[in-house]
Symmetry: C2
Subunit: 335 residues, 2 copies
DNA sequence: AAAATAATTTTAAACGTTTAAATATTTATA
DNA sequence: TATAAATATTTAAACGTTTAAAATTATTTT
């Protein structure tokens, strides 16, 4: 790689000191450098195609103007979209994004955090994995600006931007009930993470409010999603008194579950009603327009960047705890 | 943000010079530092939770151990998957990834390249946008290691990892012909980029080889994808002698086209046959299993990282020009 | 024309690291 | 016990930037 042009090169060419060049090039105006020298330096900088070395700037300023984004999996459309919005919003504020995928594993998350800290990111946006609470606490203790997204730890004071999982789930389940279903199963992830537990609680409370005591929650391990979802569906359909509705707690669970229901030739909503938390391009091709919970992803990601940038600028502002509402979009999948 | 622990802090604590600490901590062994001092320094470093400042290392070494990834849109599953694989492969080689989305615009691509150069990335993996040829030439002239992915410029000597677009398209079109279709339309993007032109050429040659002179290529502008795809489909179906098959040249075009065909209640493959270049989660929900071209995305991304890392290590190795085969996966959508 | 003031430019240190070269210390050899 | 040799440690410069403070030069003011 060709040696990059530095202030030194410009200084030599212009016959002035490095400092003079720096003043001219890094302050917008009023630097006390003469008009003539200013112009000469600017001309030479342009001629030599000077590009400031951001790394040197970072070392000097202690700011990298970089934010670390940690999600479960950047190839999951849910997170990919978040990443895209974070990228755009961050750029608006002059920040670059370095991302990493934790695969929902605390160990990978820890590696990523270390890695990104070494690279001196100015702050983090994290969709925390289960068991990563101590990592977040560590960052807090180090006063590293951070915003949790999508999930958070209720017992930990942090900035976060999440959605009203309980309400959304309560509403979705309520819709199934209102449509006459009363044996409603739920397929969720096996995780203590609050967002998932809230979705389950919303489901349970909705049933309880209707005086229904039979709940069927199937918690799926990340390590064997497909087989466990299929097992859960099998179980729910093969009970003595099978379910008449299934509520999938995420995008991925819904896709896998619906694919399996297709394979079983279970007809929706005739044989069983379905609601999915999250949307997906894929659902547009499902023969039956789905009823699903639409998360305000754009707002969530945008807000997260805003909060983070604010925290970086002034770490002593109080915590931002933001819960956004989700919308139940009605299709024909729960009759 | 709390002041980070530096070599200086450790040195002071240990009563030795910074250099000694550096030798102990950065060389694995045989540094000529006494056993006793070595152990003391290591202990103190651990106690203080020392983390090397990667930025300072980068400044000193001239290597950032970062690669820039530029794709059209990170939220497009095609690129999101590439990003994920690049991330994983890069990490294996000790590299971090900074990504950016060009939205197929040369101007955005130029901004991104500047931005990433300022951040001293060691090299680039780029899915180049139309009109970005001069940017790539500039990077070449500056001897910045780079690998093009998915697309390339035939007249420009660079490293690239792409697929055999012509062959794949030829084969796909051949399949439509073999199944008895002979009025075959194609929906592609309006771009001079070679990958798209090759797909169109493959389609044309396949028809020509069968002695069919009626070709219907609709080139869609990025600025109005949905309306133009729908217009193209309308036109193809409302001709005097309508098409009996449609070949969508990408993922996105296919999804939009199929959604529209659904809305028109056009039945596949009864009313019209369909093949799509690329796969998508969404296609799994389409009522008719699709015949599609499956790209070896994993190999492509992995190879791109390998080539880039090799180029960074030794920029004088010759260019790697890699074309991977794609596979036609048979469904029931072309009868 | 000297002194005071203002305008311009340079020096030098700093950010945190690496590393060649110099120096200091210990151990071995004669 | 000098001296040579080997071992251990430090000094100093460098990477490219910023910026306070010092120095220089030019312009006013008396």
């Amino acid at each position: 790689m060709k040696k990059r042009v530095s202030l030194k090169d410009i200084a030599k060419e212009a016959g002035v000191s490095i400092a003079t060049v720096s003043y001219v090039l890094s302050k917008q105006n009023n630097t006390g450098i003469s008009r003539e020298v200013t112009e000469r330096i600017k001309r030479i900088a342009a001629e030599l195609n000077y590009r400031p070395n951001q790394i040197a700037k970072s070392l000097q300023s202690g700011k990298s103007h970089t934010i670390g984004l940690i999600v479960a999996d950047i190839s999951n459309p849910f997170f990919a979209l978040i990443a895209r919005i974070v990228e755009d919003e961050a750029k608006k504020h002059g920040y670059t994004v370095i991302f990493g995928s934790s695969d929902e594993k605390a160990s990978k998350s820890a590696d990523l955090i270390k890695f990104l800290l070494n690279r001196q990111v100015d702050g983090f946006i994290i969709a925390p994995a289960e068991g990563s609470k101590d990592q977040i606490e560590y960052l807090k203790a180090q006063n590293v600006p951070l915003v949790l997204i999508d999930r958070y730890f209720p017992k930990l004071e942090t900035n976060y931007v999440v959605i009203e999982n309980y309400l959304a789930s309560f509403e979705a389940t309520g819709r199934l009930l209102a449509n006459g279903n009363n044996r409603i199963g739920m397929v969720a992830y096996a995780t203590e993470m609050q967002h998932m537990q809230e979705r389950i609680r919303g489901y349970r409370d909705a049933l309880a409010q209707d005086g229904i005591s039979d709940t069927f929650v199937h918690e799926i391990k990340f390590s064997a999603i497909q087989s466990e979802v299929e097992g859960a569906v099998d179980q729910m359909l093969n009970m003595n008194d099978p379910v008449d509705a299934i509520f999938f707690a995420t995008n991925t669970l819904g896709i896998i579950g619906l694919k399996y229901l297709n394979r079983l030739k279970v007809s929706i909503p005739k044989d069983v009603s379905v609601i999915v938390f999250d949307e997906s391009e894929a659902f547009d091709f499902f023969y039956c327009p789905l009823t699903y919970v639409k998360q305000p992803l754009h707002d969530m990601a945008k807000k997260a960047v805003e909060v983070l940038v604010e925290q970086i600028a002034d770490p002593n502002k109080g915590f931002h705890k933001i819960k956004l509402g989700a919308k139940l979009v009605l299709g024909d999948s729960c009759a």
